[in-house]
């Protein structure tokens, strides 16, 4: 039983990364109706930024949260206005999808050129610290990552619920046309939700840099995982996406413990295909949303 609980906790901790990424995807999807496939690559990009902040300037990775997240927000805004503004307004979502594919390819290869193909990872003293008790061992950096995930989800959900702009974002994800008719600047709403989605990628990048070793190709796999988490949790709310991520983490850890490390990917995409086929609204998603779009 001890080992099962351990595997379960490891799963939750692993899943918090997927959760943040999925929350970002969910937010972007809500207003722009595209699934931003380059999200994972952006996370890896910000992980590199955090890595560089530490190597070149000696900034503590957790402090660089305050660099990476605003930077990511700015990058998101820039990216939206430069690339996605026109495409987001189009009825044909394939254009945005293909632009995102191009962006992923571009950023991935840029990282390969700038940072080479060697896996990178930070070496911190805190990584060795482990909380032990009741036969369980919990790594502190992973616990902090879970904390980051929960706090970001909370901040985003407070933004959506408590601010005027957040209300506009929620309205836009219900019905973009009606929102525009109410006099809300739909471009700005899309831009903000896209930027927040990328900002979440920045937060996830900090988590990735502190916990995992990563390379330029990791983003693609990671985007897939975030998608699986999103499909599991259901599109439509931030906590649903986070929960989807945690569930996916647990599934993966169980699979790796009971089936084998090498089969993790196959199991998680198997789950993905099953969910898409039989439970398209996800576990916590709203049924109506899928039918409408």
């Amino acid at each position: 039983m001890g080992s099962f609980a351990q595997v379960f906790i490891n799963g939750i901790l692993l899943g918090s990364m997927y959760g943040i990424a999925a929350a970002g995807l969910s937010l972007i999807f809500g207003t722009m109706r595209i699934i931003f496939i380059a999200q994972g690559t952006m996370i890896v990009f910000f992980a590199y930024v955090v890595y560089w902040c530490f190597q070149k300037a000696g900034i503590d990775p957790y402090l660089s949260l305050f660099i990476a997240v605003p930077l990511a927000f700015a990058v998101g805004l820039g990216m939206f206005y430069l690339v996605f503004r026109k495409a987001a307004a189009l009825e044909d979502k394939n254009v945005s999808l293909l632009i995102a594919v191009g962006l992923m390819y571009l950023v991935e290869n840029l990282m390969l050129k700038v940072w080479s193909a060697n896996p990178r990872g930070l070496k911190l003293d805190i990584q060795g610290v482990v909380i032990a008790g009741w036969g369980l061992r919990i790594s502190v950096v992973r616990l902090i990552l879970l904390g980051i995930a929960l706090v970001s989800a909370l901040v985003v959900s407070l933004f959506l619920k408590r601010t005027r702009l957040g209300t506009a974002v929620r309205a836009a994800s219900e019905d973009m046309e009606a929102t525009t008719l109410q006099g809300i600047n739909s471009v700005w709403v899309c831009a903000v939700s896209f930027a927040i989605g990328i900002a979440l990628a920045g937060a996830a990048g900090v988590g990735m840099a502190t916990v995992y070793s990563f390379d330029y190709k990791f983003g693609f796999t990671f985007a897939l995982k975030a998608l699986v988490a999103l499909a599991l949790g259901g599109i439509g709310n931030v906590f649903g996406a986070l929960a989807g991520g945690l569930i996916l983490g647990v599934i993966e850890q169980l699979a790796s413990y009971y089936i084998g490390m090498n089969w993790i990917e196959a199991v998680s995409y198997g789950v993905f295909l099953l969910v898409l086929a039989f439970l398209p609204q996800g576990l916590f998603g709203k049924r109506g949303l899928i039918k409408k779009v």
């Binding site: 191009g102 290869n109 090498n262 898409l276």
Partner: protein, 342 residues
Amino acid sequence: MKVIPDVRKLGKRKLIWAGIALVAAVFLGTLPFFYDVHSGQWGYVLFMVFIYATVSQAWNLIGGYTGQISLGQNAFFGLGAFTMALLWVYDVTKTGYWFDPVLIILGGVTPVILAILVGLPLLSRLRGDYFSFGTLGVGMILSVLFLNGGGFTGGGEGKLLIKYVPDDLVINLRTHYWAAFGVAVLTTLIVYFMTTSRLGLALKAIREDEVSAASHGVNVLKYKIIAFAVSAALTGVAGAIYTYYLLHPMPMNVFSQNWLFLPIMMTVLGGTGTIIGPWIGAFVLYLIAYYADTLPGFEGWYPVVLGVIIILVMLFLPSGIAGLGEKIPHRLTRGFVGRRSK
């Protein structure tokens, strides 16, 4: 449904196009007679262009004409490659010739089965992006399966095919060149005739408005599955041909993301939903990829450039290079896809 179009009814413009295509085909087809494709570098370059043109054209069928962005083409490419390789290694069909047509065709059959298995649940949804992301996982699952296949699939090392090559055979790239060229031309013809028939009309209707197509009596799921399956088959055949060149299929190289993204970029650059687009894209992008790496100080930068190109093309030239030609004499042309055959 008539297959061969009536020559007299074709417009002048179409005759010119057909003439250009014929001249190009004859030139490329007879190139090995007056150019040594085995030792000259153009032999290899054109071989790769043909492979990419095939995969791009196959993607064009499902992504361009039907409007369903498949992100699983690398799964079909790799599956075709491994089907051919494993059947050859275990001598299942007892044929084992060099460029065995039986194996190459079977390399196209297994992807069809996969496409139907994956397509049925994913394509029955109204939402296109479910299909995109569902297929995205397929390449991953397959490469994991082949990586974990142990001795049967050779795991991460794949299978070394060189020892199964007939002893008295002298490998000449000429065979590869013709095989790849033949497959590319065949693919283009299949896509052309599929899309200019009633079937193509149904596919275009689905692309433009699925709900409307369904309400006009088009069996949306059936046509989407057909397009996806044909696309998968052609991609698998390309994978099998490529493996005859590679002779060492590994999950890492035949399921590589390049077989997914490059063909998409080629089609987008050349022009989605046009018959010539994938060819233009394959030529241009492959030549960029091949020669950019030989420029000093520029090694490895070309994928970055390709990424920029695809974004720019999507933003400013959504109909690709092929669309450029149609933009200028706008009134004169009506495109040559979607013609209803009587």
